[in-house]
């Protein structure tokens, strides 16, 4: 009973539930609002924020789980976003590693850079498995727009990410 309660209240269970909501926002609101014709990637934002807040291991794990869930609704092969988002989360964590006592703006830079890279990893992964045609100059525009939008929304994502991934003791 205690073990079940511990599992249910763990941050990973919370992460899956929050990601379901984040993903539903991605497929509805954020696939409809397209600034400059580009879909804002809030799943990617959540992953890079997790990486920048909790380091590369948590970032990679969050990315792998988020990507695996995202893959289930995408027409691309299952596992592709998982790998690219996992890499993006790890990248965000590694970028923060280079800053000594990172401030909020350093985290913003890490979020922006990791968003750009994260958005480029996916078409690269597609090319690796033979789904050619997406590595075009347009990727640069897409990555830049996604990075700018992610930086704007990141304060909200930081709050959600902190609430989701913080470790809490269960009192039973």
């Amino acid at each position: 009973m205690i073990r079940l309660a511990t599992i249910l209240s763990s941050r990973w269970t919370r992460l899956v539930l929050v990601l379901l909501i984040v993903q539903s926002l991605q497929t509805t609101l954020f696939s409809d609002l397209r600034p400059f014709g580009v879909a804002v990637q809030i799943v990617l934002l959540f992953v890079v924020v997790a990486g920048s807040l909790y380091g590369s291991a948590i970032g990679a794990l969050t990315g792998l789980i988020a990507g695996m869930m995202f893959d289930m609704i995408l027409p691309t092969p299952v596992g592709l976003s998982s790998l690219s988002l996992g890499l993006a989360g790890a990248t965000a964590g590694l970028l923060i590693y280079f800053f000594n006592e990172p401030t909020w703006w350093m985290r913003l830079i890490a979020v922006a850079v990791a968003s750009v890279l994260g958005e480029i990893y996916f078409p690269m992964a597609q090319s690796v498995v033979g789904l050619d045609g997406w590595l075009q100059l347009r990727v640069i525009k897409v990555a830049l727009v996604v990075a700018i939008c992610n930086v704007i929304i990141s304060p909200l994502a930081v709050i959600v990410c902190r609430w989701t991934l913080s470790e809490r003791k269960v009192a039973i």
Binding site: L64, M68, I73, P75, G86, P123, G133, W134, R138
Partner: protein
């Protein structure tokens, strides 16, 4: 702390390996992966539906603020277009009906004989690297993978994933899209006039030239060449002679090379913002130079996923290649893929795909 890090590392390695295995399985169209998708879909759909309802006001407000002027401009453009096309529609409808009757008389397949399901687009692709839309009809309505999807203008794409009550349509512009098409080329207009010498005719035979075949691009100038062939001593039977105006003793017979020539190729998408291309066009003399504006329709055939003669678009640019390699054609699609609302899925499966009862 160290135990936690070790567990995390193991979890990361496990997830990476799972991803690689799943990619391999999915690329081989494994049923296990399809099952996983279906189970996840069953959990995710209610959350998504709720989210759609909750976020609709935000979405509407966004479009109200950022797209208002664009909508007004589009409205004006569409009004003008409707006015222009009203007359043409009646004539076109009559022609289509006539063509369908002729096809039916000759026992040839027509689009009118294929059942269709009307659907509504309920979502765009959530990523920037897939050109797909989601529609609100699925296998329960008879939709299967591969079926062609149209809007009022022409071909839009094909079904790539089907669930019970929804399906995913891959648009023509997706780099993974490929379909065999026909290029209906009209070679440079030329006509021959056969003058039938009639022994009792005193008046000279006037020449009736054929109008050049209209193309979609009015900027292309054409030259009409007229060749006259006299067949001496030939008396046609009055029952087979086409009706001619009184006093006219010549009929115009188009050269075989004047008739529309069809050549098949493969249309391939190239991503958003880039026009699809048609490749593998045969560089034959009979086919001649491909003109800008000639229509592109689906090729059909026993192996094609689409029935023949669905309008896809028109040629907007011809890129000639050296040697015997045929030209590459850039295609201007007739369907506006940025504004899809209602679509029609043709419940068509080629004979090779049909499962025997």
């Amino acid at each position: 702390m160290a135990a936690g890090q070790s567990t995390r590392r193991r979890a990361i390695i496990l997830l990476i390996l799972s991803s690689i295995i799943l990619i391999t399985l999915d690329l081989q169209s494994s049923s296990t992966v399809s099952g996983l998708r279906s189970v996840f879909g069953a959990v995710f759909r209610p959350v998504e539906s709720t989210s759609r309802v909750v976020t609709r006001p935000i979405s509407n407000a966004w479009h109200g603020v950022f797209d208002y002027n664009e909508v007004l401009d589009e409205n004006d453009r569409l009004r003008e277009k409707v006015a222009q096309q009203e007359g043409a529609t009646i004539a076109a409808a009559a022609s289509v009906r006539l063509a369908q009757e002729l096809l039916a008389l000759n026992g040839l397949p027509t689009l009118a004989g294929i059942n269709a399901v009307t659907t509504q687009v309920i979502g765009d692709s959530p990523t920037n690297f897939a050109q797909t839309v989601e529609i609100n009809q699925g296998s329960e309505s008879g939709i299967r993978v591969g079926m062609p999807v149209l809007n009022a203008a022409g071909l839009v794409g094909k079904i790539t994933k089907v669930y019970g009550d929804r399906a995913v349509v891959m648009l023509i512009t997706d780099p993974d899209f490929a379909l065999s098409v026909k290029v209906i080329n009209t070679p440079r207009p030329a006509s021959t006039t056969t003058t039938i010498a009639q022994s009792n005719s005193a008046t000279p035979s006037p020449v009736v030239p054929i109008d050049p075949v209209p193309t979609l691009d009015s900027s292309v100038s054409t030259t009409t060449t007229t060749t006259t062939t006299t067949i001496a001593g030939f008396t046609p039977s009055p029952t087979t002679l086409p009706a001619a105006p009184s006093g006219v003793t010549s009929i115009t017979v188009p050269l075989a090379s004047d008739l529309a020539v069809r050549e098949t190729g493969v249309i391939e998408g190239r991503g958003p913002g880039r026009k699809p291309i048609v490749r593998f066009i045969d560089n034959s003399l009979r086919f001649g130079d491909i003109q800008v504006g000639v229509p592109i329709v689906t090729a059909g055939g026993s192996r094609s996923l689409s029935p023949p003669d669905i309008l896809v678009g028109s040629v907007s640019r011809v890129v000639e290649r050296l040697g015997s390699a045929g030209p590459v054609l850039e295609i201007e699609l007739v369907a506006d893929l940025t504004n899809l609302s209602f679509l029609r899925v043709l419940l068509y499966q080629p004979i090779t795909e049909k499962v025997a009862p």
